[in-house]
């Protein structure tokens, strides 16, 4: 029996439903103090003076830390992929500002007190004298020569720029029989795990050991960051990951609060904790996504892209956000799943006086997908070719993998047309058109839209302490035959520990229930990079597989001696090692383990090294860091994808959109646990749906964030999700991992944005709707319908010509 391929609920489910989760905020330490942060209310200002005298008088206050001390005593945080490396600005900052603030919510002082309320009260009594400075909140304006500069030491706001070229884009556009030009803008939003971030640090001066309990996705890189910033050796720091209540990329190392808690505990020699408040999360944890695409696309009469010139402007906010690199990834992925002979991609990553970026599921890939989907819909409309068909005509053909995309990205494998055609069958367009027509008779507007998301996974960047495409695992078979797996990868709730247990159980031939997986402790687990880029199962699972295979060989050797047969003649299953073809000749694995542990000098075990433990590191395939042409490198080993369709109903009198059904044909290579993959997809689709219709971080022109609660930044609830989310799998195994597994954790999030936009347009076949700005909240949809209706009434002959931002010739 194989455990791989079986649907199994998460290994931690039982404990979690019992209310026995161990989230970081649940960890108790005696005598722990609370940290609270004083945050600036200004989007850009000089700090003239900070008066802490009233705050110090609050009973219970233990220490007030200002930026000056922190800058003196610690090293600054830096981005793991620093734009400086590619000729951009150097990103380096301290957790507390010293003399200048550049976004609302930036911390200026930390208070430690014996209880949470005293810490907050003292924060309110810190008086900061600011001199306000001009603010820039728009990335395009921020690039203008006279724009206010976000960082006073900088000459301009351009954090990073790059350009990728293939063929001759100008010639391609000139040759094309038609072109479309326009823009697509995706809004600023954020990952919103329901567990706020939380850190608890406890320094033991006698052990010289700083233990940090952290709601982190990456314990070892977090330890490395703490070590660098605090100047403590890594052996004096232990990072323990609690249960993580959702990460989605946000709970990455390098957060100001993590450094502050660790520094203060080390200084005060007592436990210090911080639990994020939801408003702080909105203001300062880190945003993502806000990107403007401006494009010119040239195509043939039959809808094939001949040329694409696309300019990407990422509004990365304050450069204290270390995940600016998501804008780089967006440019890196273009033009995604499509073969475009002449293509130019230009990227500008721009600083503004808004919160910086933190990682968010999709990590920039989703916006690239969305832009391509919207462009292809415009090409379809301009040529009159069906929207699904236009994708089929432009896909990279299955026989051209591995395929080198414009940026140098090496797409490993796939069969996009088959996925798209299967989606068309599932959707049954003829039946939908009949349903749509019947609804129209009742005055209801139904629409069907398509998307094709490409979500490369397993990121590895050169010279990067965090983004590396390898990981480690230890597999241990104990004297009783029970198995412990320790991994360098971690789970923020996604369930990779369960998949890894399935892989190890199969490799050793033991019962699933006899495998225990331990993750997230730098003192016990092998060095690893943790959880990001859907890497945990495909990279961590592969390391565990190799370690388990090594132990199985050793077990077989000893079993072969015991059964007096050659190792090649053995198989293992269900806790037994058996002779092939002779089911009566077998030995339990626990007996073989016992021979190794309790009879090391016996006949059976004498020729093997004592012990049953293996640590292996796995380096994923299909990553190239030796620069090829244009100094490009290939960062992503596997390229999962999903063909998506949405059916929506739109109320034209209010602009309200309801997603009725959602379909997906997904390919993440070999599936280890379909229940967990499906669960991930559902969650990804929900987040994408939120981004399509509801979620939006709104700043006013002064740089004040207006959306700081879940009341005004609205996540989808069970009611907003369609009753039917129907997904299927296509399996195109990758050669980059031994089992053919690709990443699955980020899939689902990109498709809804474009599929829903496309479906809303389809709901009004008589109108020239072009929804090129997100999110599609009722007001925006209503206005677009009104504008299209008015335009149709005024100028019925010139459809499209008056539309802002896009035109066809």
């Amino acid at each position: 029996m194989s455990y791989m391929g079986q649907a199994r609920p998460g290994l931690h489910n039982r404990r979690l439903v019992a209310g026995r989760g161990r989230f970081t905020a649940d960890v108790e330490r005696p005598n722990a103090c609370w940290m609270a942060l004083a945050r600036t209310p200004h989007a850009s200002a000089r700090i003239l003076e900070i008066d802490t005298s009233e705050a110090e008088a609050v009973p219970g206050v233990v220490k007030i830390l200002l930026g000056e001390e922190l800058a003196r005593e610690t090293r600054p945080l830096t981005a793991s992929y620093n734009p400086e490396r590619g000729g951009g600005k150097r990103l380096s900052f301290h957790a507390l500002s010293v003399d200048h603030v550049h976004f609302v919510g930036q911390p200026v002082a930390a208070v430690v007190a014996t209880d949470r309320h005293a810490a907050h009260l003292a924060c309110e009594r810190i008086v900061v004298d600011y001199e306000q400075e001009p603010v820039v909140t728009d990335a395009v304006e921020a690039l203008e020569p006279d724009a206010p500069v976000v960082i006073p030491e900088w000459e301009d706001n351009l954090v990073y720029r790059t350009e990728y070229n293939q063929g001759d884009v100008a010639a391609g556009l000139a040759e094309a029989s038609g072109t479309v030009s326009g823009s697509f803008k995706t809004q600023r939003y954020l990952s919103s795990p329901i567990e706020p971030r939380s850190y608890l640090a406890d320094f033991d001066p006698y052990e010289e050991m700083l233990t940090v309990w952290s709601s982190t996705q990456m314990p070892h890189p977090a330890r490395g960051t703490l070590s660098r910033c605090l100047g403590l050796p890594e052996t004096s720091i232990r990072v323990v990951q609690g249960d993580v209540g959702g990460g989605f990329g946000t709970k990455s190392p390098g957060s100001s609060e993590e450094i502050l808690v660790a520094y203060l505990s080390h200084q005060l020699q007592r436990p210090v904790r911080w639990v994020e408040e939801r408003q702080e999360y909105f203001l300062s944890c880190g945003h993502a996504r806000e990107t403007l695409f401006e494009f010119d696309a040239g195509f043939t009469d039959d809808g094939r892209l001949l040329a694409l010139d696309i300019r990407v402007t990422g509004d990365v906010g304050s450069p204290t956000g270390l995940a600016w690199v998501q804008s780089y990834v967006t440019a890196y992925c273009l033009p995604c799943a499509y073969k475009v002979p002449n293509c130019r991609v230009r990227l500008h990553s721009v600083a503004t006086n808004k919160c910086g970026w933190a990682g968010y599921r999709g990590f920039g890939k989703e916006t690239a997908t969305q832009a391509m989907d919207r462009i292809l819909d415009r090409v379809a409309d301009a040529t009159g070719i069906d929207r699904l068909e236009v994708r089929l005509r432009n896909f990279i053909p299955p026989d051209e993998f591995p395929y080198s995309q414009v940026s140098g990205a090496m797409l490993d494998s796939g069969d996009y047309p088959t996925a798209m055609r299967r989606l068309a069958e599932m959707v049954d367009r003829d039946a939908f058109r009949a349903e749509q027509e019947a609804a129209r008779q009742e005055g209801r507007h139904l629409g069907l839209g398509f998307a094709f998301e490409l979500t490369p996974e397993g990121c590895s960047m050169p010279h990067n302490p965090v983004l590396q495409g390898y990981d480690g695992a230890t597999v241990r078979v104990g004297p009783s035959g029970r198995v412990t797996v320790l991994t360098g990868v971690t789970s923020p709730g996604s369930g990779n520990e369960t998949g890894i247990a399935q892989i190890v159980a199969d490799a050793l031939g033991v019962r699933f229930d006899d495998v225990r997986v331990i993750q997230g402790d730098t003192d016990t687990c092998p060095y690893g990079l943790g959880n990001f880029s859907s890497r945990s199962l495909m990279i961590g699972g592969s390391a565990a597989l190799e370690a388990a295979n090594e132990l199985r060989d050793k077990l077989f050797r000893v079993a072969g001696n015991a059964l007096e047969v050659a190792e090649e003649d053995l198989v293992s299953e269900d806790g037994e090692i058996r002779v092939k073809g002779s089911p009566d000749r077998s030995i339990p694995i626990r007996k073989v383990a016992s021979m190794i542990y309790t009879n090391a000098f016996g006949r059976e075990a004498l020729e093997v090294e004592p012990g049953l433990e293996s640590t292996r590191y796995f380096r994923v395939g299909n990553v190239y860091h030796q620069p090829e042409t244009q100094g490009r490198f290939s960062a992503y080993p596997t390229w999962p994808y999903m063909a998506c369709a949405a059916v929506v109903e739109v109320d034209p009198t209010t602009g309200l959109v309801k997603v009725v059904r959602y379909y997906g044909v997904h390919d993440c290579g070999t599936v280890i646990n379909p229940m967990l993959v499906e669960g991930n997809l559902h969650g990804g689709i929900a987040q994408g749906l939120g981004g399509a219709l509801y979620e939006d971080l709104v700043y006013d022109e002064n740089g004040q964030l207006l959306t700081t609660t879940f009341m005004d930044y609205t996540l989808p609830t069970a009611v907003e999700m369609p009753a039917e989310v129907i997904t299927e799998h296509q399996v195109t195994p990758t050669e980059a991992t031994p089992l053919g597994t690709k990443g699955a954790g980020e899939s689902g999030i990109a498709g809804p944005i474009s599929a829903i936009a496309s479906a809303i347009e389809d709901a009004f076949p008589d109108l020239d709707l072009e929804l090129m700005e997100m999110p599609l909240q009722p007001e925006r949809v209503w206005q677009a319908i009104q504008a299209a209706q008015n335009q149709g009434a005024e100028d019925p002959g010139a459809q499209g010509a008056a539309r802002p931002g896009a035109s066809a010739r």
């Binding site: 609920p9 489910n13 019992a18 108790e28 959702g246 669960g679 990804g684 929900a686 609660t709 999700m721």
Partner: protein, 180 residues
């Protein structure tokens, strides 16, 4: 600076008599004073629902109540759902088996809300509005991981199981579940 209030409350069947600060939240009382950390705080703004507990048979948000307000009341938290021998409540088993959770942070509040819903709404099995009623009933609880589909399935399964159990109990059959 903070005055104290006397509080008598029953939590998960145990009686407590405590002096609590008058401004202490019920959530903080449960988590910090009683060590019942299964109840989670996701926003402290009354929106996410993670802190939902049962107060005299109604689901309430423990971040929007002061501890002092529950004097004399009976509270049930997630820790009070399983039987004393550790056997899980049907709602817990259903969430586990249907994978109605991923990170598990919103799960305690979600299950308490679901129990309130099951107790108050006639959710007849096979009724076409069943799923929609479940969705509406849990719409005050945010989950960022699951997309809700498996949660709806778990609540549906638990409702069926519990109505079956109620019938079985009415027929005086022992329906106690064995531990897995």
């Amino acid at each position: 600076m903070t005055s104290k209030v006397a509080l008598r409350v029953t939590v998960n069947g145990s009686k407590y008599e405590r002096e609590v600060p008058s401004r202490q939240l019920l959530a903080d009382f449960l988590r910090e004073d009683l060590g019942l950390t299964g109840t989670q705080l996701g926003c402290e703004q009354g929106v996410c629902g993670s802190c939902t507990v049962m107060l005299d048979g109604d689901s309430v948000r423990s971040c929007l109540l002061l501890a002092a307000q529950v004097d004399g009341a009976e509270i049930v938290t997630v820790e009070g759902l399983a039987q004393e021998d550790g056997a899980l409540h049907p709602i817990q088993r259903a969430f586990w088996e249907h994978h109605g959770l991923q990170c598990g942070f919103c799960t305690p509040g979600m299950m308490i809300t679901a129990l309130d819903l099951i107790a108050k709404l006639p959710l007849a099995e096979g009724s076409p509005e069943l799923d929609q009623k479940i969705r509406e009933g849990i719409a005050g609880n945010l989950c960022r991981c699951t997309g809700y589909q498996n949660i709806v399935a778990a609540v549906r399964a638990a409702a069926a199981k519990m109505s079956g159990q109620a019938e079985a109990e009415a027929g005086s059959t022992d329906s106690r579940e064995s531990a897995p």
